[in-house]
Every structure is written in structure tokens, then in C-alpha cells.
Amino acid sequence: MRFVSEYRDAAACQQLAQAIERLVTRPWTIMEVCGGQTHAIVKFGLDQLLPPQVTLIHGPGCPVCVTPLEMIEKALQLAARPEVTFCSFGDMLRVPGCSQDLLAVKASGGDVRVVYSPLDAVQLARDEPDREVVFFAVGFETTAPANAMAAVQAHELGLPNFSLLVSHVLVPPAVESLLSAPDCRIEGLLAAGHVCTVMGCHEYEPLAARYHVPIVVTGFEPVDILQGVHACLRQLEEGRAEVENAYARSVRPEGNQPAQELIREVFEVVPRKWRGLGEIPRSGLGLREPYAALDAERRFGLTDTDVPEPEACLSGQVLQGLTRPMDCPAFGRECTPEHPLGATMVSSEGTCAAYYHYRRQRGLQSPRSPAEGSA
């Protein structure tokens, strides 16, 4: 059975790159939405394998990057409270708020813990009934079923000391916001395979039709990504704009129905502010009424504060595919993964961080063979 290693096969990647070269007759710009794909593209140098007419631009698909600063500030406030055990996925820990990050709060005595699954946070609340356990519920549709299940469990167990700081976002509304922008350069889209594993492909159909862009559901390994690019370019060259599934080993057209039911049971669609992109209608998930008692913002009386982005940081533009990281004057100077100015440098899936790690001396590096980098 072929899962990871063979999907990194250098010969297969070369073959796909050649097939792409034979196919392309003019310049095209394709956006991959997902930060995981951005990371793989830059890490394996896939963009450098492509013919020069094909430009890949990177989208807003990194939940850590798009979590608004206000939410980070709320997380920091909660984590600093003596009665709170604040749980989060590891990559949120280093996102800077106005003055510090969660790691700094931890260093100065805050109880901040990294969990692998939101269910671990529920378990913690059962084990330590004297603590207020708060889980930072961020992520796209992929993470939503797990977070929904945590809410269901806490609700059913009647846990009085568990709550969620919810900053969930939905991909298709953000894609629509990018496609409808007047300066949109996107001619084709690679849709994130694991979001579609949960949600299916249907939400993309009206978008492909309305904006006349092919949308290809794509996986995360080098072969998957190049295959997605190939399928997308074939549609572009033929003048088609359809939704196509190039990640069928994981994605069924209808998605994962029990997961969707779980999400609908716990969450409702709400407007959500995205870092760098502003507020997008119907682009987030919030807790429904039966679960509202689990809302940490309510429980701890947190109020909205307006927190401006650092002026030097162009991550809003980077998230929309309008600016490349190395065109940001701060890139690699004032802004590095050790001292990040913006979230796109903090998160390991962020576009700026991906370029920093793999493409420091841009242009000086020869195209790498996909087999070289193994995770």
C-alpha cells in the first residue's frame, strides 16, 4: 500500500512536471489555498520544477495565520488568569499579541499546555476539577469535528470547568472573498484536500461556475500537488472551470457525513474577522445556544478590543497572494521565525516561514529534487 514515501517519488514528480510542460501554452496563475500545501511546495521546491509560465501564489489557508490579533489577546488574557489552564495546539503558542505570546505567559507562571487533541483538554478538565480548563478552538473545517466532539463530551459529562475560546474559520467564504476582489489574479485554485475530506466538494461548485475558475481538490504530498496542478492547468488550457477531485483516496464527493452532522449540531455559521483579510460574512463557526455555556468569552466576560496589526507587516497582502514574502522589507531582517512580526512568519505553515526556512537565499538555490526533503 502506497501512502507517504511513494507520493514523494522524485521520478514521478519529474514525469508530472514534464507532462505539465507539454500541456502549457501560455502563462497561468494558480493559488493553493492551504498552508500545508504551501509548505510542501516550498520545501520540495515544486514551484521550481514547473515551467516558468506557471505561477503558484499562496492563499490564506493557515488557521494560525488568520486568527485575528484580538483573539490572540483574549487567549493571552485567559492564559494569564491564575485559575485557568489554557490548552492549545502547539503552533498557536508563539503567535505574538501586542506585547507577548503564550510562551511568554507560560514562562511567567501561566498554566499553558499543548495538547494533541481537544479531547485531551476535556480529559484534563475531568482530571483537575479545581482548574478552569480553556481550549483554544481554532482551525478550519478539518479541525471542527474534533472541537465539536470536545463540546459534546463536556456537555454530556456536565463538566463545569471546561470551556472553548472559539475562533473557527471556514474556507469557501474566504475563497469567495478573494475571487471577488477587483485585483484578483487567481485563474485556477487548488482546494485543500482535508477540508474537503470533511466537507465534500459541493460548496466549491457555485464558486467555480460564478468566477469561472477550475477548482481541483488536491492532497499534500509532492505527487498529489503536481497532479492537482496538472489537472488544474488541463482545465485552464481547455477553457473549462469545473470542480475536480484529484485526492480521491481520501475525499468522497459528499464528504464525511457524521463529521458534518457533528459540526452542525454544535456550531452555527457566524461572521468572522480574519487576520489580514478583515471581516468576512458567514466565514466562521460559533457555538450554538445549547453549547453557549461552554463559550469562554462569555464565561470570563471578555470584550472585543480593537488591536491594530504591526505597521511594517504585510501579512494581509501575503495571505491574499498579492505580495510575496521576500518582497516584504522586513523579511529575514526585522522579521524572522525567532522574532516574528506577523503570524505568517510564526506558524510553521505560514507562507513567510516556509520561504524563510527553505528559500533563504532566493534565486541562489538550484531546484531541489523532491526526493531530497523527507519530513
Binding site: 487533541s117 466532539m149 482535508h194 475530506t197 457524521p258
Partner: protein, 81 residues
Amino acid sequence: MCLAVPGQIVETAEEGLARTARVSFGGLVKQISLAVLPEARVGDYVMVHAGFAISVVDEAEAAEVWGVLEQMAALAEEETP
């Protein structure tokens, strides 16, 4: 954060609120929730994200990719005399 990792189910169990599985990721075994994947069976490969199996990896579809690649290679050979 949307990455899911494939692993193989070595054991399943009914546990309290939902079905769970022990899933092996190349030897490293973790307890995983099957709450949204009730059809998963021992021996299946599943994509796992944040402690939840979200899909059974379809072996036939996985093989399909390599079939397409072989066709591409054959086409390329025809084109180049």
C-alpha cells in the same frame, strides 16, 4: 494545521461516549477517536487529524494515481520519436 496523517487501525474498542481505535503510525501507536468514522475496521488505513480519524484511505483510488502516471509516461513516449 489541516494536515492529516495516515495510519493503520490495529484494534478498535467501544469506550464511553464513542468508538475508539488504536492506530499505528509506522509503529507509533496512538489512541484515536472513530466518532466520525463508524465504518472503519481493523486493518483499514485512516487519515487522522487532531486525534480523529476523518476518512478511510481508499486503496483502489490510491492505486489509480499511479495508473494515471503510467498513462502519462506512455503518452510522452509516443510523442517523442
